[in-house]
């Protein structure tokens, strides 16, 4: 006796499917919020009602399938309400929309149950929401897939039971053909549960066909070969029946036709009364002979043409794939390493006079460049989902603050790197909260000022070269520069007699803890939000631009790189250490001779056309112990704190480099934002000019922090890469 397998693989599979459902449901929730908010402005839009119904239906159906029973039951009651709206039995109103929005928050919490830091669903709030929904619909609580009778009711038309919710309409018979596609089961779908759901809609006669099941040896055990012919008697419309299959429709053959022919009516009667016989103990090669099979034969002989049949080979069936972000990151990392190896190959070829190898190397270079571009494009996604979710924030804040605010969106299709998008939500949220709380005036004041009663917050995105510009603009009162200045003086951030430009004044808003709010509210005023904006934008290698006109509004523009994976830089060296400086920061390069140093009396300042620019010696900063050349180079860079020079030995040229993380040991070294591997395998450190300048200024006033050695970082990175390469399985 031997026991094989175990619960682990089962659990792992279930968790994978659950995760996949969570991802899908999160997207649906965003779309639902957006549809509900649009519906709030246009109660008569039937298309929006249908969109909400389908979204709720999908969450309910998939939720039940993947074991989120509470979520499915809760959603089922909301779905019922929108079914009533869809059928004209209930009027849409703001109360139902607000209740549904609150319900979405609870659904979201149920989805994330168990996740660290996630909000918990509140059973009392759920019960209250359902009670209010039931009060609106006048219907008792419904639980999905629990009340169906397995035996058809002979008293109902055509011998079928009728669905509880369908009894009001005309009961009709529908002939349904359903054949799951090859990946159906692998995607976590379960045909049995779908049929179960169909039964809820009315009387259902089912015949499963084994005709496509291959011999055992050839059978793919993870594929569903079984198909189903069904006759459903229901008052529901075709669309409602199709909705049962809404989230698997792309991966199955499905036809739903009125079962109007006499043969089919006879078939349904036969199926209804069929006593399912047992198969003989001595199994034969044929499928079990049953009344159901006889019926099926009649159905097969007389089948109506399958309109809208899906062809698995047609390309549109696989128009998009859901890929875990971590797999995408691995792919981009591998492409990055390929780029590095290709650069080494090109360098090696340059030292060998072999035209044949040179030709192959050129071809590889061309393909690698194309692959790199394509892999970067895969990570690009539209910012729409991020923008759309702020509709809800604006709706809720407007209600809480008693303001009338409309959110307008422009450029939602603008694409940027997924990593950038993932980190944009927080800063945008803080900017919008700030605008809503401090920027937009109360309705009464707007009226007195002769401004439109409904204020606007405008979210926009557009490309600008290798950057993307994300804008948050409002038509509120604008920034009170005098109040900012006074607060800064109070806090000792600037001297009382300081002359500040507009840009310098606005920059104060992003200081930690800075707030001009006289009152701390639930929304803002603690001076935390804008600091978060600055930190996040810094970490994305972006910049912030603020423009404001008193009485007319404020506009904040974030300039962000399109991608975080590749950087355009200038390669420089100091002794045997190599560095990459982001091209975006570099203004110019000038020589630094020993005479220049003597003229400055040993001070680290260069005279550039009359402007004194302080410089930082990378040799000193990174503890590089090699002698200085007679002529050094100063890379002049622009930072938020002004212009600085970085002194290096030589400028080697421009380069487009794939950024590698430093790993956990050097994550704290903020002046280095990453590393890259050069063609000959040498590690070059990518510098963060902003941080480097800040660090140098800090060192002057507070003394140097523990210096980091460039060679130590580079050696650690090389070692980590060697270990990673050794661990990677190689094709035999």
């Amino acid at each position: 006796m031997s026991e094989r397998g175990g619960p682990l693989s089962n659990t792992v599979n279930a968790e994978i499917f659950k995760q996949s459902f969570r991802e899908e449901a999160r997207e649906i929730l965003v779309d639902l919020e957006s549809a509900l908010l649009e519906l709030n402005d246009n109660h008569g839009d039937h298309e929006l009602v249908g969109r909400v119904f389908r979204g709720l239906h999908t969450i309910k159906g998939s939720g039940a399938m993947f074991g989120f029973e509470d979520l499915a039951t809760f959603t089922h009651n909301l779905e019922t309400a929108f079914d009533e709206v869809r059928n004209g039995r209930l009027q849409i109103n703001s109360e139902l929309i607000d209740l549904t929005l609150d319900a979405l928050d609870q659904i979201r919490a149920m989805l994330e149950e168990g996740a660290v830091g996630a909000p918990q669903a509140d059973p009392a709030a759920c019960a209250e929401i359902l009670a209010k929904v039931r009060h609106l619909t006048g219907k008792p609580e419904k639980r999905p897939e629990k009340e169906k009778s397995a035996v058809p009711n002979a008293g109902s038309p055509a011998g079928f039971e009728t669905a509880s919710g369908a009894a009001a309409g005309q009961v009709r018979e529908w002939s349904i053909h359903f054949a799951p596609g090859p990946d159906f089961m692998l995607n976590g779908a379960n045909p049995v549960l779908l049929l179960h759901e169909l039964r809820q809609m009315g009387g259902l006669a089912v015949r499963a066909s084994m005709a496509a099941v291959p011999p055992l040896g050839e059978l793919d055990p993870e594929r569903c070969y079984i198909s189903w012919e069904m006759v459903l008697a229901t008052a529901a419309e075709r669309e409602a029946i199709r909705d049962v299959f809404i989230f698997v429709e792309d991966n199955c053959e499905l036809t739903i036709e009125p079962a109007s022919t006499p043969v089919e009516n006879q078939a349904s009667a036969l199926l209804n009364s069929a006593q399912r016989p047992s198969i003989p103990a001595s199994a034969s090669n044929s499928a079990p002979a049953s009344a159901a099979d006889l019926t099926a034969k009649a159905l097969d002989d007389k089948r109506i043409p399958r309109g809208g049949r899906r062809d698995y080979d047609s390309p549109d069936n696989a128009s998009s794939l859901r890929v875990p972000a971590v797999k995408l990151d691995q792919f981009v990392n591998l492409v990055g390493e390929l780029v590095t190896v290709q650069a080494r190959l090109t360098e090696l070829v340059a030292h060998h006079d072999d035209p044949e190898i040179a030709s192959v190397a050129e071809e590889i270079e061309r393909l690698t460049a194309s692959l790199r571009e394509n892999s970067m494009n895969i990570r690009m996604m539209p910012i729409r989902a991020t923008f759309e979710k702020f509709r809800r924030l604006v709706h809720d804040l407007a209600r809480d603050l008693g303001k009338n605010v409309e959110l307008t969106i422009e450029g939602a299709e603008t694409e940027l790197d997924k990593t950038v998008i993932d980190q944009l939500s927080d800063p945008l949220m803080h900017l919008i909260r700030n605008s809503m709380d401090h920027g937009i005036e109360p309705p009464k004041m707007r009226g007195e000022l002769g401004k439109p009663a409904i204020a606007t917050i405008h979210l926009s995105a557009r490309h600008s070269g290798a950057s993307v510009l994300i804008g948050v603009a409002d038509n509120g009162g604008g920034i009170d520069t005098e109040a900012v200045r006074n607060r800064a003086i109070e806090r000792g951030l600037v001297a009382a007699d300081a002359q500040l430009t507009e840009a310098e004044t606005y920059a104060l808003l992003f200081q930690p803890g800075f707030s001009t709010a006289k009152q701390v509210t639930d929304v803002s005023g603690r001076g935390v939000g804008m600091d978060v904006v600055r930190q996040r934008v810094d970490s994305l290698r972006g910049t912030i631009d603020v423009a404001s006109k008193p009485g007319q509004g404020t506009s904040v523009t974030l300039r962000l790189p399109l991608t975080l994976a590749i950087i355009d830089g200038l390669l420089v060296n100091v002794g045997d250490a190599f560095f990459v400086l982001p091209l975006a920061n570099i203004l110019e390069c000038i020589e630094l001779t020993r005479e220049d140093i003597e003229r400055a009396n040993g001070k680290h300042v260069a005279n550039v056309r009359g402007e004194l620019i302080p410089y930082i010696r990378l040799r000193q900063h990174f503890s590089i112990d090699t002698p200085r050349p007679a002529i050094e180079q100063i890379m002049v860079v622009e930072t938020e704190g002004g212009r600085y020079g970085f002194v290096v030995d030589r400028v080697l040229g421009d380069c487009q480099t794939v950024i590698k993380n430093l790993g956990r040991f050097y994550r704290h070294v903020q002046v280095v934002s990453g590393a890259t591997i050069l063609g000959d395998g040498t590690v070059a450190l990518i510098l963060d000019p902003e941080r480097l300048a800040q660090d140098a200024v800090r060192a002057v006033s507070h003394g140097p922090r523990g210096r980091v050695s460039a060679s130590a970082i580079a050696a650690a990175i090389k070692q980590s890469l060697r270990e990673r390469n050794a661990a990677r399985p190689r094709a035999s």
């Binding site: 031997s2 084994m210 055990p221 569903c224 103990a281």
Partner: protein, 104 residues
Amino acid sequence: MSLTVEQSESQNVILLEGAIDIASAGELKELLLKALGSGKKKLRVSFDGATALDVTAVELLWAAEREAAKAGVEFSFAGQAAPEALAALADAGLETFLVSSGAK
């Protein structure tokens, strides 16, 4: 989920316990092929302890039954799966494929 094979001189018995679904489908196929190729004249599949059966299990067992008939192996089902499992299969019109008259 657990799949266990009990062997005697004349027959193999595969015991299905817990949820028999896509997660165990590959293993079930292997066990069925091995049992059918073992040269023993009887193969019995027991449902006692099976709490759920999905379509992959149904089609594997159905294909095994046909394979057994071809190979001259006496194939039978025994025991009783959980009522919920049977109800789910009945909903999908699949229960007839997993019942043999001599087994109940």
